[in-house]
Structure formats: structure tokens, C-alpha cells
């Protein structure tokens, strides 16, 4: 596997860091919403928001990095429609991972709760408190998240299929396994 088959190390680190945060933040969000009000619920909401803002910032860095660095090209045997599908899904993943924290931040403002990153850094409220808008944004946040879930399943499924069934070194692209240089 040539070096060019692998994403750059910062891209790989950011990919897995963001993946990890989403794998924590998503179930946390699903779990916390139906809890009865308690100090633990308030804590979990804050942690969820802190994770979301962190994801947003990391993805902003990731997108900037991506714009400055060409990703490794796909193996030769990949069908044209799959290349196109891969581009679309990756584009949507980036868009959703940026849009989801944003929708959460706006929802929080509309519900009258400022987002304060790690309880220290206050983010400006871009919206006035407005209950209807808050409920609408909550629905938007939810729909975007479950769309993301669908796309992540597709993304992971495709990577695993190419790696294990078609025996293409896909997971190595994201740093999985030994860094082979031939």
C-alpha cells in the first residue's frame, strides 16, 4: 500500500476523534431527552452540548484541512457509480456533522438556554427565546440526527464491504492496521 492510499495523519486523527464524540453524543442525546428533570439531566444536557460544539469545531478544522489536502484516490476497481455515491455520502456527512451542532445551538437559544462551552465559554444566542421555534428546531435536530445515523450505517457498511468482502485495503485508508509502505 503506497503512502498516497492513506489519508494524512491529521485527517485520520480528526476522523476518529469526531467519530468517537458522535458515538458518545448521539446515544446521550437519545437517552437524556426523556429523563425526568433532575440535576443529572441538566449535567447530561450540558455534556451533550459541549460534545456537539467540540464536534463542530473539529469538523470545521477537518473540512479546512480537507480543502487544502487531496484525499487518497479510491482503488482502481471501484465502479463509477460507487465513486459518485461515495462523494455524495461524504459531502452529506460533512454537511450534517456541521449542521447538527448548529441546529442544536440554535434550538438551545430558542428554548432560552444559552450554550456555554464547558461551562466557561458562552456562545452568543443567535435567536431570541421563542417556544414554537424551539420545538421546530428540536424536530429539525432530531431528523438531521437520524439522517446522519442512516448515512453512518451506509458509510461504515460500505467501508466494511470493500475491506472484507472485496478485499480492498479500505480500513487502512483511515489508519486501521499496519502502515505498510511498498
Amino acid at each position: 500500500m503506497s503512502v498516497a492510499m492513506r489519508y494524512s495523519t491529521p485527517a485520520i486523527v480528526l476522523h476518529w476523534l469526531v467519530a468517537l464524540l458522535i458515538f458518545v453524543g448521539f446515544p446521550l442525546g437519545v437517552y437524556m431527552v426523556d429523563l425526568p428533570l433532575s440535576p443529572d439531566k441538566l449535567k447530561l444536557y450540558s455534556y451533550h452540548k459541549w460534545i456537539g460544539i467540540t464536534v463542530f469545531l473539529l469538523v470545521a478544522v477537518r473540512v479546512s484541512w480537507r480543502l487544502m489536502h487531496t484525499p487518497p484516490s479510491l482503488p482502481a476497481g471501484i465502479a463509477v457509480w460507487q465513486r459518485r455515491a461515495s462523494q455524495i455520502v461524504h459531502g452529506l456527512l460533512y454537511a450534517l456533522i456541521l449542521a447538527i451542532p448548529l441546529s442544536g445551538w440554535l434550538m438551545s437559544s430558542a428554548k432560552g438556554f444559552q450554550t456555554v462551552w464547558f461551562g466557561v465559554l458562552p456562545l452568543p444566542d443567535l435567536l431570541e427565546k421563542n417556544r414554537e421555534l424551539g420545538d421546530l428546531l428540536a424536530s429539525v435536530h432530531k431528523v438531521l440526527n437520524f439522517t446522519l445515523l442512516g448515512l453512518v450505517i451506509l458509510h461504515v457498511g460500505a467501508a466494511l464491504k470493500h475491506h472484507f468482502i472485496e478485499r480492498q485495503p479500505f480500513l487502512q485508508r483511515m489508519g486501521w492496521g499496519r502502515k505498510e509502505r511498498t
Partner: protein, 185 residues
Amino acid sequence: MKITQLVLLAALAAPAAHAVEYRTVLPKQSTIHFEFRQMGVPVKGGFKRFTTEMAFDPAKPEAARAQIEIDLASIDAGSPEADDESAGKLWFNRSAYPKATFVSSQVRALGNNRYEMRGTLTLKGKSREMTVSVTYVPGKNASIFDGSFVLKRLDFGIGEGMWADVSTVADEVQVRFRIAATGTY
């Protein structure tokens, strides 16, 4: 003769004009708000229904008095979920203590239309002495009395049990009120 009469009238009227006493509160222009921190996030709330009785003569501030009674059911605690929660036994225990009252005991002029009002705040069956700073803003139609003080919710048992943890919901609650009143001469 006419001018003398006018001067005489003016001389008589002048002291009377100063002897205004504010007694009639305008509820629609009066507000009570509060703010507290929850996980480091400022949360605003307030009470929509309250009655105020007051008497204030700028010439005799030490004789001023105020009494405020708040209907705790009119709370806006920041969210519908918090409004419901605040009624419970751990918070206001509203079925047993539906009202909060403040009764002034002493008013001291600090100069520049600023006053210090002492009084007793009763919440959830507990009474505590509070010191409230009040600014008087004379107006043409109505005058404004802006007051603020910080109360510690745990002094009144507001938020017991699991809610006594002040790292989640802070102990200090900043209270701000605005009373608009008209005077009689």
C-alpha cells in the same frame, strides 16, 4: 394685583408639589424577574402575578413602606419543564406555600435617588431579613422604582434533596423588580 395673586398661588403650590406620595401601583408596568446559573448558564425567569402596596414620599423616605405578595403559580422558571418542577415539594412546595411575601421594615436614603430598603422575605414558610437596593426614577406620569437583591435559595429550602447540589443549580439568585407607581399630591 393679579400678578401678586399668581405669585402667592405659586408660593403656596410649590411646597405642595414636592409633597407627592406614591401609592398607586401600575401592575402592567411592574415586573419581577430573576436570574440564576445552571451548569454555568444564566437562566432568566420571573413572576407574572403579584400585588404591591406601597407608600413613598421623596421628602420623607424614611417613612416609606412597601409590601409585595407574589403568586408563585405565575412563575416562569425558564422552561415549561422547570415551571412544573418548581411547584414540587423540593422546590416551592406550592400547594402548602402558594405565596411569597416581602414586607419592608426600614428605608434609608443613600443620595442620588438611591435607597436601601430592609425587610422580611417569606418563602416556603421561612422568613429572612433582606437588604434591597432601590433606585427611584421620577417620571411625568408614573415613577419607577427599580430594585435588586441577591437571595440564596438554600436559605429558604428552595431546591432540597438532589437539588441542594449548587454545582448544578447555583445557590445565588439575582432578583430584579420594577414597580411603576403614580402619586397623589
